[in-house]
């Protein structure tokens, strides 16, 4: 029982990341009809927004400490962050420590801008081209973005810890009257789940309860008619691309303390997120979220020792097995519209 609760928590947590990325992918596919293989790269850039802010806040000046020597025997160069000098060591350390949550604010304008530039500068030229062309160009773009990040930050993962107050773990077992240490779960992963729920809720509320969202939904249903009503739907769709980029970026920022960011992390999520989108139903926002959590939970259960002992290797293929079954039984996905991807 405790193992099931633990893996359900894990699945919800994994599913949060899948759902956030898949939500952005679906927003782009639903509005612009573009299959965006650069979406994983946007997630990765989000994580590097956290790294960048950590470095900006940690920017330091060098002083020479004659009493100590470096590895070559020369006087030691000591780096002191400016924020330590300006606000004192304790406050300065706290500011640097909170760089990941602060990066949420930093990343939103950055990701919106990157999204808008991507859409206006490159992707808009491919709207009328076949999906294969869109995949090729966005995949190429993803590689270019990866290499740019690697050039500036290197290939090694960069530790980007959560604030001390949010490290450590919560003992759910005690809450449920079990022994200590039976079900413990890291605080930051709980924060990640809550954050994902908030962002997903926010996107749905935006689409459901604002005039802008209503027009976008109308455009997703029938772009031509909305255009004939004199509404500039292209402009709104461009803004939606920026919003999708910001969602992916936020998912990346908050993911940075879970796994140290590296330039390749976007690719690791990209394929899985596409499977999530296809299982959920191309163009269906609730489908993307549902499939994200569903596949996250299934993946976690498949990684349980008892399951691996029963079916060796199932942990590596479970998501794809489910995708095959869903596509065979229901080609439009769990919540896809009739006719989409069924012809």
């Amino acid at each position: 029982m405790d193992a099931i609760i633990l893996q359900t928590l894990n699945g919800l947590d994994k599913g949060s990341a899948y759902a956030l990325i898949a939500l952005g992918l679906t927003l782009i596919f639903g509005t612009l009809g573009v299959v965006n293989f650069a979406h994983g790269a946007l997630f990765m850039i989000g994580a590097f927004c956290a790294v960048t802010l950590q470095r900006i806040l940690g920017a330091s000046f060098t002083t020479i400490d004659e009493t100590r020597t470096d590895f070559l025997g020369n006087p030691m160069q000591v780096e002191t962050p400016y924020v330590h000098a300006w606000f004192g060591p304790e406050t300065g350390a706290s500011i640097i420590e909170w760089s990941v949550p602060l990066a949420i604010l930093f990343s939103i304008p950055v990701m919106l801008l990157i999204g808008l530039v991507m859409e206006r500068g490159l992707i808009k030229h491919f709207y009328k081209r076949p999906h294969a062309d869109q995949i090729l160009v966005t995949f190429g773009l993803a590689i270019v973005l990866q290499e740019i990040i690697k050039y500036f930050y290197g290939a090694n993962p960069i530790p980007t810890p959560a604030p001390d107050a949010l490290t450590g773990s919560y003992d759910f077992g005690l809450l449920l009257g079990m022994d200590p240490n039976v079900i413990i779960y890291p605080y930051w992963r709980l924060v990640y789940f809550a954050f994902a729920a908030l962002v997903i809720g926010g996107v749905f509320a935006f689409l459901q309860f604002t005039t802008f969202g209503m027009v976008v939904r109308a455009g997703m249903a029938d772009r031509e008619t909305v255009g004939l009503l004199g509404i500039n739907i292209d402009k709104r769709f461009t803004i939606m691309f920026g919003l999708a980029a910001a969602v992916a970026g936020l998912a990346g920022v908050m993911y940075a303390p879970i796994n140290s960011p590296n330039y390749h992390m976007g690719m690791d999520f990209l394929v899985l997120s596409f499977v999530v989108v296809v299982v959920g139903g191309m163009g269906s926002l609730p489908g993307a979220v549902l499939a994200g959590f569903l596949l996250g939970i299934l993946e976690s259960f498949a990684s349980m020792t008892q399951v691996i002992n029963l079916i060796p290797g199932i942990n590596q293929i479970i998501i794809y097995v489910v995708a095959i079954i869903v596509l065979l039984a229901r080609p439009r996905g769990l919540m896809g519209r009739r006719g989409v991807m069924e012809e």
Partner: protein, 453 residues
């Protein structure tokens, strides 16, 4: 209008003559010297095949720095580095056998097929007479096989799987770096003194050649001192989030987690383990412990705070001569050369690549020939010192170097960004030595040396 002077037969004849003409120099060169890529002018070309892209690109970059430094020293540049401390004095800064050393580089991308393609290109197009480099055992085994077929020497860089000098060993291949068995043999006594003999271990293992041999080795060594192995779970190499694998560890009854992971895998699994509170947890009435059998400085840097207090093993450490004395002479000379040129201390990957280049050059000098069979003979059962690892020998029967192994631990209070690990102990060579026919290394044979001609 047709050209009646051009006939099918004529084209075939001309092509055959032209082809034979083009192939003749290579054939003559091979026949004349009796081996592949015999240097004919006043230069000799070495091929350095390292990951320049992909997840191990930073490690590959450090290896390349070391290779460049070694070539500079061989050609008489810089301060000579470990040439000053090397026990053999055949290398005088005039290149190798009077030929200036040049090098070409390839990108393995940490993929076996890409690594073989770049090594093949360096051998066939650039005329490399020796290939070196590494960072993945899968790649090292693949490139070693290619070098054996092509008739050039392979001086392995960072490769830690038992298989490289075990079931996949080759007569043309030599490894200076230590291996998974040695890590386990070195760590067992340290683990016993740190954590006792009554422990239950849970293993997470990367699902490929290195992970398997590392797990097998550390399981055997820890079980021999009384530990029990509760579970071994294989994890996909492409896995990034290990939470599903870490979560069940505490419930399994284990009180030690052994992470048979390397590079990004290790950084992520260790980070996840610390997030799930394993470092502070109690199990079976003891403090829960985490062990990482193979360490590297870059991994420690990636893991950040999480590495503190975690034990592991290394082939070498840049502080070893300062901390443990002149037995490890050569270390400071190398650190000085490297540090002054690049601004930071070298990694163990850099040290093994630098040492391999010098060892090859010295073997050529002693053999007075670039012929791979003569070089191999010079390296077999060769004993040397002064390259930073203490007295070392290249065993003839499997082409594996035997030397002391460094057991380290993540430093609690690092003084700077390079001071990430502290040396706990050095396990002497005798304790990490095994018989050539040890079961973990059986199943293959060196075969005979291939000069390639």
């Amino acid at each position: 209008m047709t050209n009646r002077f051009v006939t099918r037969r004529g084209v075939l004849k001309t092509s055959a003559i032209a082809g034979a003409g083009l192939a003749l120099p290579t054939y003559l060169r091979a026949q004349e010297s009796g081996f592949t890529n015999a240097p004919t002018g006043d230069t000799v070309t070495l091929g350095f095949n390292v990951p320049q892209t992909g997840p191990y690109a930073d490690e590959g970059a450090d290896e390349l720095r070391a290779f460049e430094l070694a070539v500079e020293h061989l050609n008489g540049g810089g301060d000579g580095g470990m040439l000053q401390t090397f026990s053999e004095k055949n290398l005088d800064g005039t290149g190798i056998l009077g030929k200036k050393v040049e090098f070409v580089t390839g990108d393995t991308q940490t993929k076996s097929d890409a690594a073989r393609a770049s090594a093949r290109s360096m051998i066939e197009k650039d005329g490399a007479v020796m290939i070196s480099g590494g960072s993945s055992s899968g790649v090292a085994v693949a490139v070693q096989g290619l070098c054996q077929e092509a008739g050039v020497i392979f001086m392995a860089g960072l490769t830690h799987s038992n298989d490289t000098t075990g079931k996949d060993k080759k007569a043309n291949g030599f490894r200076h770096f230590f291996n998974a068995y040695m890590s386990a043999a070195a760590m067992a006594p340290v683990l016993e003194s740190l954590y006792g003999t009554d422990r239950k271990a849970y293993h997470l293992t990367a699902d490929y050649t290195w992970g398997w041999t590392q797990q097998e080795s550390i399981q055997a060594a820890t079980e021999a001192m009384g530990w029990e192995t509760v579970q071994n779970v294989l994890t996909p190499l492409a896995q990034t989030d290990f939470s599903s694998y870490i979560a069940p560890v505490l419930q399994s009854g284990a009180d030690v987690l052994v992470l048979n992971h390397y590079g990004g895998n290790m950084v992520n699994s260790l980070t996840n383990a610390v997030q799930f509170g394993l470092r502070e947890a109690q199990a079976n009435g003891k403090d829960f412990q985490i062990v990482v059998p193979l360490y590297s400085e870059l991994m420690a840097r990636g893991a950040g705070e999480n590495i503190k207090g975690i034990p592991g093993s290394q082939n070498w450490d840049w502080k070893i001569e300062n901390e443990l004395g002149s037995r490890y002479v050569g270390t400071n000379a190398f650190v000085k050369s490297f540090g002054e040129k690049y601004g930071f201390p070298p990694s163990q990957a850099a040290q093994t690549c630098y040492a391999q280049t010098l060892l090859y050059a010295d073997a050529v000098s002693r053999a007075n020939s670039f012929n791979p069979c003569a070089v191999a003979e010079a390296l077999e059962d060769f004993e040397f010192d002064g390259l930073g690892n203490g007295p070392t020998s290249y065993r003839g029967s499997d082409h594996q170097c035997f030397k002391d192994v460094v057991v380290v631990r993540g430093k609690e209070n690092p003084e700077n960004e390079f001071d990430l690990v502290e040396i706990v102990e050095v396990t002497p060579t005798e304790q990490v030595t095994y018989e050539p026919d040890h079961p973990m290394f059986s199943g293959g044979s060196l075969g005979s040396c291939n000069p390639g001609a």
